[in-house]
Symmetry: C2
Subunit: 200 residues, 2 copies
Amino acid sequence: MAALDVVAGIEGDYLGGVLFSALGKYSHPATAKSRANSVASLKRLAIAAQAKGITIGLEPVNRYESNLINTIDQAVEMIKDIGEPNVKVHIDIYHMNIEEQDLASPIINNAEHIGYVHIGASHRGGLGTGNVDFDELFGALAKINYKGIITFESFSSAIVHPDLSLALAIWRNLWTENKPMALNARKYMVEHIIRANNLA
Amino acid sequence: MAALDVVAGIEGDYLGGVLFSALGKYSHPATAKSRANSVASLKRLAIAAQAKGITIGLEPVNRYESNLINTIDQAVEMIKDIGEPNVKVHIDIYHMNIEEQDLASPIINNAEHIGYVHIGASHRGGLGTGNVDFDELFGALAKINYKGIITFESFSSAIVHPDLSLALAIWRNLWTENKPMALNARKYMVEHIIRANNLA
Ligand SMILES: [Mn+2]
Ligand SMILES: [Mn+2]
């Protein structure tokens, strides 16, 4: 609820991420009770957000960061249980590369629920190397006619807060300079989006 | 050293895996001192293994399972520091999919160090879905003329020991029956190996 006030304070209209549980490596599977608690909390959050015109995004993350929502299907299931119209799936290709059966069908099958997109390389470094098939991803986004925000994420302990670097297990830095990283990512994204739209 | 005796006891000639540190999500980066301790221990292990005709394999695993060796290059660096001829890299495509720049060049560039191969889907389920480019992998293995063992790994809490399931964050089961899983994996591997060898 405090985060909601921060978003409203900067006139934001979106609050997304791992909002359904604490981020970390769990030592046990999620229980039915913990999932029910999460659904109830998110319902309260979503209703409070409606009054401020804010959309809530649930980000499925890999198995080492949550024991509750690792796939887009699981997020959509939870959104249905929450039952409020302002809750969407916040997808992240880095996590999809680990958890999903492929990079296109979870997006296409859940098109109406996709509210926000994180992209990043499979090793969380710069775009251009790594094992993500970005043509598959951008092809799926073109197919569902996604017009929302696409944000590039990458992590270096030279830039990112130490607590976050440790939580995300950033043990080696693939870059240290912000600016060229961001410019390269923008160029890469634009090229791939144009190509995907031409093919769609 | 106890593990070495077990391997010798069953007349095995190979001991591989995450032998360089405890498997788990670390809350801090590896220090120079912890790496030096690991090198010294592994040197003792390698020398003891030589007397029994056993090869030692170091398996780079993803950032959530080790803060010390996440890439094949890091494993080779450590092997050079250990300086014993019976230490090899034990590669695993599941971890490579997360950590490496691509699936072929780390294998080709470190060809003489590759001693064992784990394959598995990007979600640790069955072969045939997921985001690993197996043609890239098997193409690289054909190129270096790899003739060693290739083992399929997959995890389901229905089969695997509960402690291991929790350590590896197996929160949802993608299968429950061993036999069809193994048969399918064998078929998939053979098809891809034949294709890669025909192309090589
Ligand atoms: Mn993200
Ligand atoms: Mn393995």
